[in-house]
């Protein structure tokens, strides 16, 4: 059929364009990271392969890139872990227990996830200064937990609500307390959902920029996004090769996560953003 053939050609063209649209910047990033000169696209230059940029990024202690990576990892894992734990307790209360004003709680929580960060950052900065938390992990972890909690709560509520009521009635009859129902029955059953939520919470914490920009002052707590954003050359010219190597190293784990767990992430995202 003619229509089918046109559709197939369109589809193939569409796939090729989509993939290049999404990946071209990354391919370019990786190419620059392995290039001696970042200007290899200009007529007067040509591509020379080198791994010096990676050596620089990974072994030059003055760049502190590995510190940034470590800080990011610690802050995001802890924030995402705590957010998922607290989120699942609250989601359990909302879906299974007689929590008063649960509709209001959900509504307020959801509207909180739409807050512009800039309307929090001024107050939080003076708050953190008073607590003496500036340039500590706590200054990032605490706001991050709150920042990713609304989304986590919403995704978990949606997962928990989809577990049949009979199962926890049965567990209740079998003699479980509420805690036992949550940890012995709901958690194991919602494992894919909890994992999706953790992944998203991790990505959101890992990507956060404004808080990290203001609440950290040096390599002891600075995270990857801020580290790379503030990466400037010492002598005028921007060291593109090094920056791209750093960007490659720090985005690689995320890219792998996304490719491997795309199904979980998409499921979590759509449960968090749209219903029905």
């Amino acid at each position: 059929m003619k229509e089918e053939r046109i559709k197939r050609v369109l589809l193939i063209v569409g796939i090729v364009l989509t993939v290049s649209f999404c990946l071209l910047p990354f391919i370019y990033m990786v190419m620059v990271s392995f290039a001696k000169n970042a200007d290899f696209l200009s007529l007067s230059s040509r591509y020379v392969f080198t791994v010096n940029n990676y050596k620089e990024v990974l072994f030059n202690a003055n760049l502190h890139f590995l510190d940034y990576l470590k800080n990011s990892a610690i802050v995001s894992v802890v924030s995402a872990g705590v957010a998922v734990l607290l989120g699942s307790l609250a989601a359990f209360s909302i879906t299974r227990l007689p929590l008063p004003f649960k509709g209001l709680v959900l509504f307020v929580t959801l509207s909180m996830s739409m807050f512009p960060q800039v309307s929090l950052v001024g107050f939080l900065f003076s708050f953190m200064t008073k607590l003496g938390w500036i340039n500590t992990y706590l200054a990032l972890i605490f706001p991050y937990i709150a920042w990713v909690l609304p989304l986590s709560l919403w995704i978990l509520v949606s997962y928990f609500a989809s577990i049949p009521r009979d199962i926890d009635k049965q567990a209740f009859i079998d003699g479980c307390s509420s805690w036992q129902i949550l940890f012995k029955v709901i958690w194991p059953l919602a494992r894919p959902g909890i994992f999706s939520t953790f992944l998203l919470a991790f990505i959101f914490s890992f990507n956060e920029f404004m808080f990290a920009l203001l609440f950290t002052t040096d390599h002891r707590t600075r995270t990857v996004p801020v580290g790379i954003a503030l990466f400037q050359g010492l002598h005028g010219e921007i060291p593109w090769g090094t920056i791209m190597a750093a960007a490659t190293v720090s985005t690689l784990p995320i890219i792998v996560l996304v490719l491997v767990f795309q199904r979980n992430i998409i499921q979590g995202l759509t449960r968090g953003a749209v219903k029905g």
Partner: protein, 363 residues
Amino acid sequence: MRLSLYGVTKKFFSLRRIITAVDDVTFDVHNGEFFVLLGPSGCGKSTILNLIAGLEKPTKGEIYFDDELVASPEKKVFLSPRERNVAMVFQSYALYPHLSVFDNIAFPLRIAKEKEDTIVKAINDVAEMLGITELLKAKPGELSGGQRQRVAIARAIVRRPRIFLLDEPLSNLDAQLRHTMRTELKSLQKEIGITTLYVTHDQIEAMTLGDRIAVLKDGKVIQVGTPEELYDSPLNTFVATFIGTPQMNLFKAELMEEDGKFYIIFERSKILVPSRRITLGTFRSGQEIIVGIRPEDIELLSTSEGGHFQGKVASVEYLGRELLVHFTTKTSRFNALVSERMVKEGDEIVARINVNSLHLFEE
């Protein structure tokens, strides 16, 4: 264990209205009895089960397990399912999908912190009793409907509960399997002797399983009795039509007293009603009443013979050994169950009814 409900009422409050799901329900279940709650969907039978289990709290009334009060809002008593020691089987079986069959059955015992070797022994016994020893390592997802059913029952009886609650446990099975499970369930219950409360909307299931049955409608108990009592002496037209297939025929007639005897007048026929059928109600002469007659109590004769009233055959259904004949009279439609295959569509017939099986109801 003896179960008693006194004036139990359950109301649900939603934003717009109040729903009375259970309305002033009172009944007793004897020790070791197989008791069935029967009613159409939405009649409150599952809510009653949940109230007994401790999953819901009554709005009014009292529930006793033997002499122990387990729920009473007036006296501020409410025991949790754990404290009541009840077991329940849900329509969906509610097996924990992440646990093996063994762990599913062990679950209530482990929550109760039983010793592991007692658990293993108890499970082996119950698995043997139900013929699921082979399945202990499997996950619920790998089982057939009938097997899941058995596992759910095993999990319920392994804890030696005081009462066994079943909420439409057979309705997810196919007809063949439902039939076998019914027989098995009945003999199993007699064997272990635990008081059992069974909820269903299927009257055949209720009639074959129950020692006694409570028929429910709109949250109220309409009639409690043995299957025979319900079949032979339904209290009203609801019970009469709900129990028995094919359904009982109902028609309007006038009651007439003559020389101390009662007759019903239907389409110019005058049918004598045996006196024992009359004492059931408080009927007067000249009253409009509803008369019920079961299809098997109608005999069809050819027009040359004498019967009670005339009709014409509208259609005939072959049910194998018997025929279900639909026929119409001047004002009504009737079903008759006959064994002779001598009528066909369009035939003019005369119907004779077994007057000893007449049921009279007030309008």
